[in-house]
């Protein structure tokens, strides 16, 4: 499809396990963003990529969280040693370029449940 694709759509894991969440942005979009949305809450900014570099990763909550992007395309968000408070929907978005003015196109999210 032409939209932002995220996988898995749902993930249930046990506390202490590592998880990887994947985002395929819209083709040609140079900017990519990760957000976390806890139940009933707004979007919490995690990290922003311009190309393959991350000029703003100020929102990553701890060193258990990391993200990378390769080939100016796919991005992976990795959460190590998951905790119950990591349970949330992780949303990925992409935009044509830049951080100031571009419309963000969102995927449907990866719903993570940590037991």
């Amino acid at each position: 499809g032409a939209g932002v694709s995220q996988s898995p759509s749902n993930k249930v894991t046990e506390k202490g396990k590592d998880v990887e969440l994947r985002c395929d942005p819209i083709s040609g979009h140079t900017a990519l963003y990760w957000y976390r949305q806890r139940l009933g809450q707004g979007l919490e900014f995690l990290i922003y990529f311009q190309g393959n570099s991350a000029p703003d990763k100020s929102g990553l909550p701890s060193d258990r969280f990391s993200a990378e992007r390769t080939g100016e395309s796919v991005s992976t968000l990795t959460i190590q040693r998951t905790q119950q408070e990591d349970s949330a929907v992780y949303l990925c978005a992409s935009s044509v370029s830049g951080r100031l003015t571009g419309e963000l196109f969102f995927g449907e999210g990866s719903r993570l449940t940590v037991l």
Binding site: G42, Y48, L100, L104, F106
Partner: protein, 105 residues
């Protein structure tokens, strides 16, 4: 202080009502403001986009920015049950908490 503050509601109105949704922001340098709409279990979608101060109208929706008070508003006229969703204000990649709106038939 969060960069964007928004009352999470929830807000419930009868069909046909005028809805007012509001946010404040902290950095006077912000110039671009957006409103996104998010339906349940979906990703947010851009609804309105404004630059600097003033109003922008699109059908039943009006977005307003008052830079002197750092206040952003979204007005919905003749609200419909299909408008029931969470509305999020945003600027510079930062989002407000979102206001959950229910329009009752």
């Amino acid at each position: 202080q969060k960069e964007v503050e928004q009352d999470p509601g929830p807000l419930s109105v009868p069909e046909g009502a005028i809805v007012s949704l509001n946010c404040t922001y902290s950095n006077s340098a912000f110039q671009y403001f957006m409103w996104y709409r998010q339906y349940s279990r979906k990703g947010p979608e851009l609804l309105m986009y404004t630059y600097s101060s003033g109003n922008k109208e699109d059908g039943r929706f009006t977005a307003q920015v008052d830079k002197s008070s750092k206040y952003i508003s979204l007005f919905i006229r003749d609200s419909q049950p299909s408008d029931s969703a969470t509305y999020l204000c945003a600027t510079l990649m930062r989002f407000g908490a979102g206001t959950r709106l229910t329009v009752k038939p």
